[in-house]
């Protein structure tokens, strides 16, 4: 009897090993820092600078969450994860959250048992071609050779697109983005296809960016967002509402410059609730009242993060496009802080 109980407990422990313990927040607070899974390097989204400090758009989200929990944006440890290791790292509890431009898909959400807490970048697959090819639309690419990363959703999207449009192509399989750039520049393929943000970053590194053009067609939906494990909704809420706070802050005109001033109290009750001068929102999350203020202080609101890391004034030069606020024709729309 006792033995079977022990075996049962072991089995349960084994099964829930992936789900880790329920109170992620307690673990994080006991540990004293947040462990955030990021990419092993993606231009504009996550990369260490010359001093070893991680910088980037995804990194900004991690720092905001760390600031919301600890009031300290440096209380975060970045763990580089590859496409293969990212999900296990999260499931096994090696990292507390992933901010690793991961596409929110049905199977990752449902089957892999993760919780995407929101979307911080709406991406989509695009095409880049040399200007001298004289192509203005992806539909003109009949018979083109296409450089494509193997084993990714982009490969499947590409096949779908060409099939739907009843045109043919010849794939040139490549392994990494670095290889793709070299192959494309060497003329091994006419077209390079990957996420539009990646194309823009790649094009920015070319000697003559003007010789290459990114075609207008976006052939897939790639909503990228931070994710946490299933099963710990308290922790998921913290990450979700930190992201929402960054988005709402832009909508409400709260910036890293004026957040200190606004947190003293304003005439706008939503700003007051969010920044903690009114209401109990912080306590409901199990955090300090000034959690959102701390999160915004780190790198500013969503718009500031965007402009600093990937916006039009950076070498990557991405326009806001879909990632503008809903009030400005984009898709960013945070639920109200109430």
């Amino acid at each position: 009897m006792k033995r079977s109980v022990i075996f049962g407990a072991l089995t349960v422990a084994g099964l829930t090993a992936g789900a880790a313990s329920a109170a992620t927040l307690d673990d994080i607070q006991a540990r004293g820092n947040l462990i955030c899974g990021v990419t092993t390097g993606l231009v504009g989204f996550a990369a260490p600078d010359a001093n070893g400090e991680w910088q980037g758009f995804d990194v900004g989200v991690c720092r905001a969450v760390a600031a919301a929990v600890f009031g300290d944006p440096t209380a975060v440890e970045f763990v580089p994860t590859t496409g293969q290791t990212r999900f296990t790292a999260l499931a096994s509890g090696e990292v507390d959250m992933l901010a690793r431009n991961t596409t929110w898909t049905f199977s990752r959400d449902v089957d892999l048992k993760f919780e995407f807490v929101g979307i911080n970048y709406y991406d989509g697959q695009g095409f880049m071609v040399p200007t001298e090819l004289g192509v203005s639309s992806a539909r003109d690419l009949d018979g083109a050779t296409v450089c494509i990363q193997t084993g990714t959703t982009t490969e499947l999207n590409l096949a779908d697109f060409f099939r739907v449009n009843n045109i043919s192509y010849e794939p040139v399989p490549i392994e990494t983005n670095a290889e793709a750039q070299q192959q494309y520049l060497a003329g091994a393929c006419d077209v390079y296809t990957t996420d539009a943000s990646g194309l823009a970053a790649t094009r920015a590194t070319f000697e003559n960016p003007g010789d290459h053009v990114i075609l207008p067609e976006i052939i897939s939906k790639e909503p990228l967002g931070p994710l946490v494990r299933h099963g710990d909704h308290d922790w998921g809420d913290i990450v979700r509402w930190t992201l929402n706070a960054l988005i709402s802050a832009e909508e409400l005109g709260i910036t890293s410059a004026n957040v200190e001033e606004l947190s003293a109290g304003t005439n706008n009750p939503e700003i007051n609730r969010m920044l903690g001068s009114e209401g109990e929102l912080g306590a409901m999350l199990g955090l300090e009242p000034d959690w959102a203020k701390n999160a915004i202080m780190v790198g500013g609101n969503y718009g500031e993060l965007f402009e600093k890391n990937i916006g039009e004034n950076t070498p990557i030069g991405l326009a806001r496009g879909l990632n503008a606020l809903w009030t400005e024709g984009g898709l960013l729309y945070s639920p109200p802080f109430r």
Partner: protein, 444 residues
């Protein structure tokens, strides 16, 4: 009279030697060498000319790129600006393409040390020095034998220097080896050789698992001696490659010897365990073992256990290398004539004595090329850890390229990484040749 006769019958007699003449120009020196080696036939002459043209083309295209490289710039675009400026000013000819070595000067520290705290760089350097002092008596005869005591301590000093933290952890772990020695030394008389050997494995392992942690914690609380702790996550660059490579090399060698002996053993369980271990580890690609270490192990360990990824990877790499090492050494053991084994037995030596004094010195000498080959392979294989997200030199080339400053830079980084690996591997190879020459006293 005879000479007179001779003088009248022969018109001229040389009475001095002709001075040695230079050989014909076509048959000596550089010209002969050229004729024999490069232009011995029409076909060869054509091939030679073509090869020279190819080499000339390659050299002129790369040397310019390498030599005129720009060392002082903050980003790839700055490099390009500097180059364009020099071309515009007429200092450089039109169309010259140069390397942008500035990435190395900008990220030198990261390529070597990863994210290791900058003010603590002296620690990995000191660890490397300790390592070289530690291996000196193994590598060279002329070094005083007393240094072997230091060799035994070196791994623990290196560990402490690299990771830091309390000094008691490494000390109590080291005491485990003393414990093992004591069990063998004094246990043989009490429980017999076989039981003592088994106990010498079991007792220290139990000690490490159950005693070291609490003991080090307790003593550390009383006497907190230590240096700043650095997490494995901060390790990267060539430091990481060296740590994995050197640990793998140092530990796979004794493990490989034990496995090779075990595979030759008559004891059923030991023999079969070693055979299965070697065949399973060797039969599966290293990358699979690395993924096992990084992905699967997490699911088997209880939630919340934080089993360091670097440690897991080092263990896997060591196992992998020791399986290969075992087979290399087994080759050496098998190459020894049967008489050597019988001779050792006839002298009345027991198993360990005969191995230590007669069999292994000869077997290892035969295996040197294979052993060094395995070492070099292992060292280069450390770059595979990039696939489990560790920031080794190759991983850092990706990370550096992921910044907007250096996106689009390839050759400079790969050439640097390649050059450093080449230096290390070439040094190992030269040492093994030196060792072979030195030990080539018999078996002519």
């Amino acid at each position: 009279m005879a000479s007179d006769t001779h003088a009248q019958t022969v018109a001229y007699v040389r009475d001095t030697m002709i001075p040695e003449a230079e050989p014909p120009a076509m048959e000596s020196g550089a010209i002969k060498w050229l004729r024999e080696n490069l232009f011995s036939s029409t076909l060869n002459a054509v091939l030679t000319v073509l090869s020279i043209l190819a080499i000339y083309w390659a050299v002129t295209h790369t040397v310019e790129w390498l030599v005129f490289g720009i060392w002082d710039a903050g980003s790839l675009s700055e490099c390009r600006e500097i180059r364009d400026m020099r071309i515009a000013e007429g200092i450089w000819p039109e169309g010259r393409n140069v390397a942008c070595w500035a990435v190395l000067s900008d990220r030198w520290n990261q390529l070597l040390f990863g994210f290791y705290p900058q003010d603590l760089y002296w620690r990995p350097v000191a660890a490397l020095v300790v390592f070289f002092i530690g291996v000196a008596p193994i590598l060279f005869d002329s070094v005083p034998r007393k240094l072997f005591y230091f060799t035994a301590l070196a791994p623990f000093i290196c560990y402490w220097l690299l990771w830091g933290g309390t000094i008691w952890g490494p000390i109590f772990v080291a005491l485990g080896f003393v414990l093992a020695w004591a069990v063998i030394r004094f246990g043989q008389g009490i429980v017999g050789p076989l039981a003592a050997t088994i106990a010498a494995f079991v007792v220290p392992i139990l000690y490490w698992i159950f005693v070291v942690g609490p003991l080090a914690g307790a003593v550390g609380a009383v006497a907190p001696i230590g240096i700043e702790f650095v997490e494995s996550n901060d390790f990267g660059g060539f430091m990481l490659a060296f740590i994995i490579g050197i640990t793998g090399i140092v530990m796979s060698f004794p493990l490989g010897i034990l496995l090779a002996l075990g595979r030759q053993s008559d004891l059923f369980i030991i023999n079969k365990t070693c055979v299965i271990f070697i065949e399973v580890i060797r039969g599966v690609p290293l990358i699979v073992w690395l993924f096992t270490a990084s992905l699967l192990l997490n699911y088997f360990l209880p939630p919340g256990t934080n089993f360091d990824l670097l440690l897991r990877v080092i263990i896997m790499v060591t196992f992998f290398a020791s399986a290969y090492m075992a087979e290399v050494i087994r080759g050496g053991l098998a190459a020894l004539p049967r008489g050597q084994y019988e001779g050792a037995d006839s002298l009345g030596l027991d198993y360990w004595q005969s191995m230590q004094l007669i069999i292994l010195p000869q077997a290892l000498k035969i295996s040197i090329p294979g052993i060094v080959n395995t070492f070099i392979g292992l060292f280069k294989d450390t770059t595979l850890v990039v696939f489990v997200g560790l920031s080794d030199p190759i991983g850092f080339t990706n990370l550096i390229r992921a910044t907007t400053d250096w996106n689009g830079i390839y050759w400079e980084l790969f050439i640097f990484v390649g050059a450093l690996f080449f230096v290390c591997c070439f040094a190992m190879s030269r040492y093994s040749q030196y060792l072979e020459r030195k030990l080539a006293t018999d078996r002519r």
